[in-house]
């Protein structure tokens, strides 16, 4: 057990930071103010992800045969930290790299791997995640979008909701029910659906948390070739579970929270507030929570590096991350005061993006349920 960074890791971080300082435009904060789904960022991310890919950094932790360099998950974790600390210039593509690619690697046919993995590792494709439905959010297994087999296609009818990045995505990692008589986890199938198929309609859902944040995806008689199916029919829940473990700690959100704290401290310092012990205490409190989220995320990465199967420690890390984000957002409001109410201000951006922390990527209550049953040995209700 040791907590050091290797020379290679230190070198990589330094090179990466230098690259980012050089490549990110001076108005990056403006471009990225709406988050990874915003138009500016999605546009920028295509070019940026391609440049990262050229340097071999986009998917370095992937196996060589899929466009990676078999690098340690730690290098990818370092990359994630520096990316998220800067508002995620990879845009929606961080998702492809973190869990869509891995799911295809694990469950895909050779043809699917050929088609998708090289594009993801080149940084030239955007995906969205077709999971939640109006009647299936935390209870994902209640999903109803039907996909009925007809010759060489599945005919898909239904809708997905909250879908981030649907407006720009070329492909959708889509969960459907292929056996209409099935209930819950049984009979669910994953389709890698091209978003330009006839019958796919995307509509933005205006939301207070940001522009282009949420979408509805309507699927009206969409014919999706069977060749797009990922894994066996009716056994998609295993694929989903696999993917979710990666998704849960896919975004180094604590790194962004940490940078936010630096900004808050700077703001406080400029006003002489760092002489106020109460301000120091609030900053120290949030700082401790952020570092707890960081070290608990490292635990998960470490398990991955050891080749251990994913555990409910991903849920522990996720809850810690949420609590940290929420604490930092609250503190931002306190320190920026009514300036936080101004659209586009720093306090505004932090607060509105942290609003989703307890709901996105699996509601905290679901995370806590999983911790209780898988780690604490508590019986289900």
């Amino acid at each position: 057990m040791e907590f050091s960074w290797s020379d290679e890791e230190v070198r990589f971080r330094r090179e990466l930071v230098a690259f980012l300082e050089q490549v990110l435009p001076p108005d990056w904060e403006q471009i990225s103010k709406d988050g990874p789904g915003g138009d500016g960022q999605a546009r920028f991310s295509r070019e940026f992800a391609a440049r990262l890919a050229e340097r071999g950094w986009l998917t370095q932790h992937w196996p060589r045969r899929y466009g990676g360099s078999d690098a340690s998950p730690w290098l990818h974790a370092i990359l994630g930290e520096e990316m998220w600390a800067r508002g995620e210039p990879r845009g929606p593509q961080y998702m492809n790299v973190n869990w869509i690619g891995p799911a295809i690697m694990e469950y895909g046919t050779e043809a699917q791997k050929q088609q998708h993995l090289s594009r993801i590792s080149r940084g030239d494709v955007l995906w969205c995640q077709g999971f939640s439905e109006p009647e299936a959010g935390s209870d994902l297994a209640a999903l109803r979008t039907l996909a009925l087999r007809d010759g060489d296609d599945y005919v898909v009818n239904g809708s997905k909701i909250w879908t981030s990045y649907a407006n720009h995505a070329e492909f959708c990692f889509l969960l459907v029910r292929t056996d209409p008589a099935s209930r819950r986890q049984r009979g669910i199938t994953v389709l890698l659906m091209p978003m330009d198929l006839p019958g796919v309609e995307v509509r933005e859902i205006p939301a207070v948390v940001g522009e282009r944040y949420f979408h509805e995806v309507f699927l009206d008689g969409v014919r999706v070739p069977v060749a797009c199916r990922l894994g066996p029919e009716g056994e998609g829940w295993a694929v989903v579970s696999y993917a979710l473990q990666y998704e849960r700690v896919g975004a180094a959100r604590y790194a962004r929270a940490s940078l936010t704290l630096d900004r808050l401290a700077e703001h406080a310092s400029q006003r002489g507030w760092l002489e106020d012990p109460r301000v120091l205490e609030r900053l120290g409190e949030a700082s401790a929570l952020v570092d707890a989220a960081r070290i608990l995320t490292y635990r998960v990465i470490d398990q991955r590096a050891h080749g251990l199967p994913p555990s409910a420690d991903t849920n522990v890390a996720r809850v810690a991350g949420t609590r940290a984000e929420q604490a930092v957002a609250e503190l931002a409001l306190e320190l920026f005061g009514t300036e936080s109410l101004v659209h586009g201000s720093f306090g505004d951006a932090q607060f509105r993006s942290a609003m989703t922390a307890g709901v996105a990527v699996g509601a905290s209550e679901v995370q806590l349920n999983l911790i209780a049953s898988r780690l604490l040995g508590l019986p289900r209700e």
Partner: protein, 310 residues
């Protein structure tokens, strides 16, 4: 970065578990506590087996020491192990005659282990001061918080100051020791509570099957795990100011929450002496108040991170 215990570390921890099962435990702590006694026997066993001075060994260091402190606390061992194995080695080469009590010059409050300590290490700000204590010098203070306490007024003007900067080193290592001890104590309190809610039946079912309680316990688990790993990281890094302060800040805040939740979920039986929860929970309160408390650790965190001087 490799967070799995090495074979050597795993072997140390396993051997320690067996030793603690034999020589520590809540019942023993209660029996000694009732008589206001210090567990010299446990300290002797830890000393003879090498666990008490693991930080000074060739193959191990402060991380192993923190792991030992955490384990001993989890088994309800109330010995001045943090002082011996983390704080003193962090301040000076030579060991001090133990048990060692830790105190702050600007805090007149009761001091843990003062009545049983042979040496007092005193935080005077810039420097730490080593003071030999006479038997019976400290005035015992009655307390229900799981540790023997004493007041040491007259001692504070004697002894030998350590070099400049030793005060800061002392505080940093003290924070790491507190964090590690709190982490082990919290783990025990939480595990006891989990056991209780699994078997306690009301309304036709185990109360641990109610989601509301599961969520609170899961939140506690997240806090305990975060505390434990921040303490370990800080120990391994050699207790730099920021890592040490944030470990103590996190553990202290977590301790307050775990205290409240474990008692709330253990109901009336949790307040009794026959149930073991109080052995751990009350200590969490004491640990949370030591060295200026959570507010002090939080201020130290912010200063270390954002101000030039700590």
């Amino acid at each position: 970065m490799d967070l799995e215990p090495s074979q050597e570390q795993a072997a140390i921890l396993e051997a320690l578990e067996r030793l603690l099962e034999q020589h520590a435990g809540a019942r023993r702590a209660v029996a000694l506590g009732a008589k206001g006694e210090y567990d010299h026997e446990l300290e002797r066993v830890l000393s003879e087996s090498g666990f008490a001075d693991v930080a000074r060994s060739e193959e191990a260091g402060p991380l192993e020491a923190a792991l030992v402190v955490e384990a001993v606390a989890r088994h309800a061992g109330a010995v001045a192990l943090g002082a011996r194995t983390l704080v003193v080695p962090g301040v000076q080469e030579a060991p001090l005659e133990g048990p060692v009590a830790l105190a702050r010059a600007d805090d007149a409050g009761p001091v843990r282990y003062a009545c049983h300590a042979r040496t007092l290490l005193l935080d005077e700000g810039e420097v730490a001061r080593v003071i030999e204590l006479e038997p019976g010098e400290a005035e015992p203070v009655p307390s229900q918080f799981g540790y023997p306490l004493g007041r040491l007024e007259t001692a504070r003007r004697r002894g030998q100051a350590c070099p400049t900067g030793s005060g800061e080193r002392m505080r940093c290592w003290w924070r790491v020791a507190l964090a590690a001890e709190a982490a082990g104590t919290m783990r025990a309190a939480l595990d006891l509570t989990l056991e209780y809610v699994r078997q306690r039946r009301q309304f036709g079912r185990a109360i641990g099957s109610f989601q509301a309680l599961q969520h609170r316990l899961a939140e506690c688990h997240v806090l305990v795990e975060g505390s434990r790993w921040l303490a370990r990281e800080a120990a391994w890094q050699g207790a730099p100011a920021l890592a040490a302060a944030r470990a103590a800040a996190h553990a202290g805040a977590a301790a307050a929450r775990v205290f409240a939740e474990t008692h709330q979920l253990s109901g009336a039986i949790g307040f009794t002496r026959e149930h073991d929860l109080h052995v751990f929970s009350m200590r969490l309160v004491a640990l949370g108040l030591e060295l200026g408390g959570v507010a002090g650790h939080r201020r130290a965190t912010a200063r270390a991170r954002w101000l030039a001087t700590p």
